[in-house]
Amino acid sequence: MSHWLNHQLQAIKLVLSRMRANLLSSFMICLVVGVAMCLPSLFYIGVDHLSKLTDHMQNETEISLFLKLDVSHDTISEIDALLAKNPAIKQYHLVTKDEAWQQLQEKSKSSPAVSDAINQLGKNPLPDAFFIQAKSVAPDDLASLKASLQSIPGVEQALLNTDWAKRLATLITLSKKLILFITILLAIVLLVIIGNTVRMQILTQQDEIEVSYLIGATSSFIRTPFLYAGILYGLFGGLFAVLMILGITQIFNYSITDLSNLYSSDFRLTLFNGSLFLAVISAAILIGWLGSYLAVTHAITSITQLQKMVFHD
């Protein structure tokens, strides 16, 4: 056991000293790993936050029921009565065309161009409208409620405000798939890069490996330092990625804070996402290990063939 531990420690020490000797190239490889891990993580953070935001918005659903421009007061009262009886409706309120017109004029006062345009309209173009909140927020219930409201005589159009949120949610599902594939592709790229780096190291140390075999080194003795090299590239690369993610989310947060202040929201990007960081680092380590394992296994097979040429006839 202590022999095994000693061997592992020696291998790690050896790899660290080799990395220190080639500091710049080691740094480059870790940086590549870091950037490659950072990219999908940033996409993930963005999409994750967007999806949280839309979930939140879908809970505030409202159906807008715009009436025909020429409806009479009687029809409005009939619709009012119908809505009051409908069990799927939690609450509703009527905004008449005059109220809406007044609101519009109030709101446009601050911008002269818009108020000029409104004044030029002359007569009120707005319809009477009911704003309805349903009891259920399930998309199917909302859709059927919307359909039933649409069929009421005198109704011009029933608008479900969640439509765009639903579209966004679909887009987010799509983006998540996209991120998955980007992640897989980048993982393959990393596998190749780390594998190739380790292969180059094996080539520069081919003499040592060959001699070590001849004087009784086991395959695991040969393999261990290279596996640690892969693992360390992964670890340092993963740490780089975490640092980059932290920096970039922090920079984004400045702008997002400004933006959400405009919407009087306290929405921020979560700066410290422990499980994401853990996932990034362990994925990087795993990829590093796998890349070097593949490279070293392949190289060892060819070197063990080569070492048979050791004595000359």
Binding site: H3, Q10, D207, E208, S212, I215, G216, T218, K308, D313
Partner: protein, 241 residues
């Protein structure tokens, strides 16, 4: 110690390199392997060092049948040997000390104990004062001595040397031979391949002569009139036993 029984070796796509070889090397012997290029010397050494396995027949090393040994057991068998190559196989990216310590690392020896043994090995071959030197700065003879130090640092019971004096001039070669004899004196089995008939004609050691894959001569060289008759008799006894 080392026993070949009806050993034949054929490489894929070639004729038999070794044919029906029988031999027995006792612990503490000093044996030469001679023969022309292509006679099978290197194959014989590879079989002894468990680098190759026989096509047929059995190779016993320290009572272990190499053919039946698992690949994972081979490295541990190899640690019983010190191997010395014609082209030294030194590592030119590190100094003498680091070269010699390699087998100890593989054996899991480290720290002061390792340093002590490295210096002892360097001392035996007369290179203690060069422990910090890079191998490329050494002469051919010194490089071969460094290779010997590396071969003996883990205290193997068998030294296998492939033409260790092949590329050296006479005085260096004599130095090297003296070192091998010194190890043999303290009980190390030495098996040395050479085509240098002069280098061994003056010795009283057993000679395994290979001719086209056959072990044709299994006796001490009697061509040398100065050869001590009593010594050759004892060698014949050894062969007979």
């Amino acid at each position: 110690m080392i026993k070949f029984d009806q050993v034949t070796k054929r490489y894929p796509g070639s004729d038999e390199v070794l044919k029906n070889v029988n031999l027995h090397i006792e612990a503490g012997e000093f044996v030469f392997v001679t023969g022309h290029s292509g006679a099978g010397k290197s194959t014989l050494l590879k079989l002894i060092a468990a680098i190759e396995r026989p096509t047929s027949g059995t190779v016993l090393i320290a009572n272990q049948n190499v053919s039946q040994l698992k690949s994972s057991a081979i490295p541990f068998l190899r640690r019983r040997f010190g191997l010395i190559f014609q082209d030294h196989k030194l590592l030119y990216d590190r100094n003498c000390f680091e070269n010699v310590i390699l087998p100890l690392r593989i054996n899991g020896v480290s720290g002061n104990e390792a340093a002590k043994r490295v210096r002892a090995a360097l001392d035996k071959v007369g290179l203690l004062h060069k422990e910090k030197a890079m191998p490329i700065t050494l002469s051919g003879g010194e490089q071969q001595r460094l290779a010997i130090a590396r071969a003996v640092v883990s205290r193997p019971s068998i030294l296998i040397a492939d033409e260790p004096t092949g590329n050296l001039d006479a005085s260096y070669a004599a130095d090297i031979m003296a070192i091998f004899y010194a190890f043999n004196q303290v009980g190390v089995t030495v098996i040395m391949a050479t085509h240098d008939a002069l280098g061994m004609s003056a010795t009283q050691n057993r000679v395994l002569h290979l001719d086209q894959g056959k072990l044709t001569q299994h006796t001490p060289t009697l061509t040398d009139p100065k050869q001590d008759i009593g010594q050759s008799e004892s060698n014949i006894e050894k062969i007979a036993s």
